[in-house]
């Protein structure tokens, strides 16, 4: 049988081989010969760190204890990967565009680069990972002791603790060597990833070989195994539907939230398309890993003595059948599973610790001095190395403390439940813009606390912090607070109980607090960038102050990224800005880019804080934005108002101009009216005056002469009076002050009155007037005197101005709906077309030839009367002679 020393030698050789692989891969990567190291195959194999020693050894134990339950641990991740288009695609895209370094960094970055959130997640991750690392140490040291125990010589059976201690030291050295080589996590750990891929192949081959040996070497082939599974009395007492669902949920969230899984899935991802391959290849890997679990379990149950630990059947079955080489392979497989998990977990956790706890603390201590002094790069690397050592020390401490008594599976599930607390906040942050930092903190803290209280502390079985009495009776004997039966929820599986409580309260608080709180500007900005990452893949960060000296930035960047990288970055940026030499301008784009680059090394929150120190912490707030927007809105409103005002002014000015124009016209009219009226008045006055003088001074006037002259004076006085009457009348009508005396009357009477009134006019020729008989049948209500005044005017005009040899005036009436038109048509030559527009104007006598006894106001008065009566008077073109139409409402 193998001696313990040979085993140690073998393990050392194997680790040496891994060293070489990692070293070679790192060298190739530095030379830029990526080749197969960037293949989707390596990516998929690196994901296999999900299957730890817990899987390698513990799955069989789980199958013995709980039947098919172990499958849920692999089906959950299968669902996540098969459904990669939903979540993983987005996660990887965000990880790349925001240069995320860890799960804590992701959450802190999403929730406004909150340092506090990052601290919570880091602590949670460390707390959950510690037992898990202890589990790996335990399984490796146990496998060592199995060999030692089976060793016939029985010599030098080493202490389990001793093995675990040196294993931890070796792992720490390996991890520090290859995990902190490149500081920028986004430059990726090619060496480590390649070594892990190799380990993935080793453990898969080991488990498959053991499986094949068990099925075809011990049992009688596939049929026999199926028979045995059917007959086997797998203990399924604690298995239940709710546990099945819970385990599936836990494993699905673990594949996303476990820091080491996040590290390999998101951070180490070099190409999104690798996800597409991993979407089926990783489930296939899991499938193969679990294919022989159940056969090994049932065969182990049948073959091994009753007291044997089912967690180690993978190892003990070959040993029992004296297959040393196979046992060695199985040992190496388990060893690989444990070491790869511990290495990646230590890298991921140390990154988180140094970025989110050490750096912020250091920054805070440095705050008084605005200038960054000291080499940050050294500090980061040192803190990361110390972090790795500390995490392994914690794991070792936990292992020593619990004494390695716990069944493997339950420790793993405790860790899974711990990291699953991140899930609600993560999913909410990726798909819901309303998720706020306060909500995330509240949910995480509550979930964390409940996890510790209901699962983590009780898992010590009363040996630490929480007494067995308290677990059974509740603190101070309060039954409602019993850790494994909160609020009296008894009879539940402790795991399901803890999961329901912690995730339930976590999610409710997260959503509830998010709904009632208001996110900060940076949170909202980040929220948009995360939720809509496919629209914003360029990733515009918030604007930083322009007043930053570029050399300050360069000094800081050199300290963190190293001289050459920083100089290259700055030179590139300067070239992009069109500046051949010298430093680039600290434009917002450049500062944002620099912040992202730095985030790749120290995490988003720290990078933001460092840039903030140099830029004077100048970040815009929504209040600023609102103020700016308000101002703009006010200015716009003002200008709109001004425009309206100016439009109004223009309108008023136009109106004023029009009014002015009208006034001037009116003034002109008035002037001409006055001159005309004085002329009209002057003519009779002149004759009255001259004849009156003749009468006064004329000594020898005959009685006949005197009589004639007096007659002229009288006639002229009458004419003058009539003129004045007309002017008065017109002024009354024009001012609208006329009082109408409405009465019912016959139109025929009015017409005949007009005809007879005009018949006695002197100086006019006899005229035939034909009145249409239907006129006398029309009755109407109007001011009869006024209307007859219009008629008289029209008939007398016809008598005066009709130039026909045999003057004839036709008066016709046409009745329409509710008005009547009366036409006065004579057979004269009519009114010339150019004069038609002015016949209704005052003093518009067209010629003076027969202007007997008229001042030319008649038609003007008629028009005013008709307007007052609600009708109209118009010239009627198209008749042979002059024709006027009077329209009166009935």
């Amino acid at each position: 049988m193998l001696s313990f020393n040979i085993l140690v030698l073998l393990a050392t050789l194997y680790v040496g081989f891994l060293f070489l692989v990692a070293f070679g891969a790192d060298r190739r990567a530095r030379r830029g010969q990526m080749g197969w190291m960037r293949s989707p195959l390596v990516y998929t194999l690196s994901l296999s760190i999900y299957t730890t020693a817990w899987t390698f050894y513990g799955a069989v134990g789980s199958a013995v204890r709980n039947g098919f339950e172990f499958l849920a641990i692999y089906l959950g991740p299968t669902l996540v990967f098969v459904g990669w288009w939903w979540l993983l695609r987005k996660l990887v895209r965000i990880g790349r565009s925001q240069r995320i370094t860890s799960i804590a960094d992701l959450l802190s970055s999403r929730y406004g680069k909150s340092p506090f959130l990052a601290v919570i997640v880091t602590l949670l991750a460390v707390a959950a990972a510690t037992p898990y690392i202890a589990l790996q140490l335990q399984s490796v040291s146990r496998s060592f002791s199995i060999f030692a125990a089976s060793n016939a010589s029985g010599s030098a059976a080493p202490d389990v603790n001793f093995t675990a201690f040196w294993l931890s030291v070796g792992l720490a050295v390996f991890t520090i060597l290859f995990g902190t080589r490149s500081l920028d996590v986004n430059e990726r750990h090619h060496g480590v990833v390649t070594a892990i891929a190799v380990e993935a192949v080793v453990k898969l081959i080991a488990l498959l070989t053991v499986g094949v040996f068990v099925v075809w070497g011990i049992a009688g082939g596939a049929g026999d195994i199926l028979q045995r599974i059917g007959d086997a009395q797998l203990n399924t007492a604690s298995a239940s539907g709710s546990r099945w669902v819970a385990l599936m949920f836990l494993s699905a969230s673990a594949i996303i939230c476990l820091p080491r899984m996040f590290q390999v899935t998101v951070v180490e991802n070099s190409d999104e398309r690798h996800l597409a391959t991993a979407s089926w290849a990783f489930p296939l890997y899991l499938f193969l890993m679990s294919l022989f679990v159940l056969p090994i379990a049932v065969v182990g149950l049948a073959e091994m003595p009753a007291g044997a630990n089912p967690d180690l059947y993978v190892l003990t079955l070959p040993i029992a059948h004296n297959r040393e080489a196979l046992a060695m392979l199985a040992f190496l497989g388990g060893f690989s599973s444990a070491t790869s998990m511990v290495i990646v977990a230590a890298i991921a956790l140390s990154t988180m610790v140094s970025n989110h706890i050490v750096m912020p603390l250091w920054l805070r201590l440095r705050r008084p001095s605005a200038e960054l002094s000291g080499d940050v790069r050294d500090l980061l690397i040192r803190s990361r190395r110390l972090g790795i050592a500390a995490i392994l020390a914690l794991g070792y401490g936990y292992f020593r403390f619990t004494g390695g008594s716990e069944a493997l599976a339950s420790i793993g599930l405790i860790a899974f439940t711990g990291v699953a607390q991140v899930l609600p906040v993560l999913i909410g942050g990726l798909f819901w813009r309303g998720a706020t930092r306060r909500g995330a903190i509240a949910g995480l803290l509550a979930g964390f606390a409940l996890w510790v209280y209901t699962l983590f502390l009780p898992s010590f079985g009363g040996s630490w912090m929480m007494s067995a009495d308290m677990i059974a009776q509740g603190p101070w004997g309060i039954g409602l607070l019993r850790p494994q039966a909160l609020m009296g929820m008894q009879g539940m599986d402790p795991l399901v109980h803890a999961l329901v409580w912690s995730i339930g309260v976590n999610a409710v608080l997260f959503v509830g607090v998010s709904l009632v709180t208001f996110p900060s500007p940076l949170e909202r900005l980040q929220g948009v960038q995360f939720v809509n990452v496919f629209d914003h893949s360029t990733g515009q960060g918030p604007q930083a102050s322009m007043a930053v000296a570029a050399d300050d930035l360069l000094v800081m960047a050199q300290r963190i990224m190293g001289n050459r990288t920083a100089l290259n970055l700055f030179r590139e940026a300067a070239l992009a800005q069109g500046k051949g030499d010298g430093l680039p301008d600290p434009t917002p784009e450049f500062v944002n880019r620099l912040e992202r680059e730095l985030a790749g090394t120290v995490g988003a929150a720290t990078a933001h804080a460092m840039i903030g120190q140099i830029t004077g912490g100048a970040t815009i707030s929504v209040e600023d934005l609102i103020a700016v927007a308000d101002e703009a809105a006010q200015i716009m409103e003002h200008s709109v108002q001004l425009e309206a005002k100016s439009r109004e002014l223009a309108r008023t000015a136009r109106q004023l101009r029009a009014a002015n124009e009208k006034l001037r016209e009116l003034s002109v009219q008035k002037d001409s009216f006055l001159s005309q009226i004085s002329h009209e008045l002057r003519t009779p006055m002149t004759s009255i005056r001259s004849f009156a003088e003749i009468l006064r001074d004329g000594e020898g006037l005959s009685r006949e002469q005197a009589r004639r002259y007096s007659g002229i004076i009288l006639d002229e006085s009458i004419r003058l009076t009539r003129l004045l009457d007309e002017i008065l009348d017109l002024s009354v009508l024009e001012n609208g002050k006329v009082v109408l005396d409405r009465a019912r009357g016959n139109l025929g009477d009015l017409v005949s009155r007009a005809v007879s009134a005009t018949a006695s006019l002197n100086g006019v020729r006899p005229m035939t007037i034909e009145v249409a008989p239907e006129i006398s049948r029309i009755e109407l209500t109007t001011d009869l005197d006024r209307l007859s005044q219009v008629f008289i005017n029209l008939v007398s005009n016809a008598r005066k101005y009709c130039d026909a040899a045999q003057p004839v005036l036709k008066i016709v009436a046409t009745r329409e709906d509710n008005e009547v038109s009366i036409d006065f048509i004579d057979n004269g030559s009519g009114i010339a077309e150019k004069d038609r527009a002015i016949v209704f104007e005052k003093f518009a006598r067209l010629s003076d030839s027969s202007a007997a006894g008229s001042a030319g106001l008649g038609l003007a008065i008629s028009r005013e009367i008709m307007r007052a009566l609600g009708g109209r008077i118009e010239y009627l073109p198209g008749q042979r002679g002059a024709a006027f139409r009077v329209v009166v409402p009935l």
Binding site: G67, V80, S240, E272, F287
Partner: protein, 88 residues
């Protein structure tokens, strides 16, 4: 339809790609239903004798089918990743 300028009807290729993405989204949901549905019955404290083999075969075959479906879709989906940087 965020972009008003984007056409109402896509050509055959884009249409296929959209349906492919629908299928990719649907696959895990269907799988979850299939994985969760029969199990509370099977995980009764005393499973029916012989039911264990059937259950095992059911789970493993379903698993294989899932892997196969994902494998068939992975290549065109990877292309869709490239061609549609702003998917959805």
């Amino acid at each position: 339809m965020k972009d008003p300028a984007s056409p109402q009807f896509l050509d055959r290729r884009s249409y296929r790609r959209k349906r492919l993405i629908d299928a990719a989204r649907l696959l895990p949901l269907m799988a979850a239903v299939l994985l969760l549905m029969p199990l509370p019955l099977e995980f009764a404290p005393t499973p029916a004798q012989g039911g264990a083999v059937a259950l095992g075969l059911y789970l493993f075959i379903l698993w294989l089918v899932l892997i196969l479906a994902a494998a068939l879709m992975s290549r065109p989906l990877a292309r869709a990743l490239d061609e549609r940087p702003s998917a959805d």
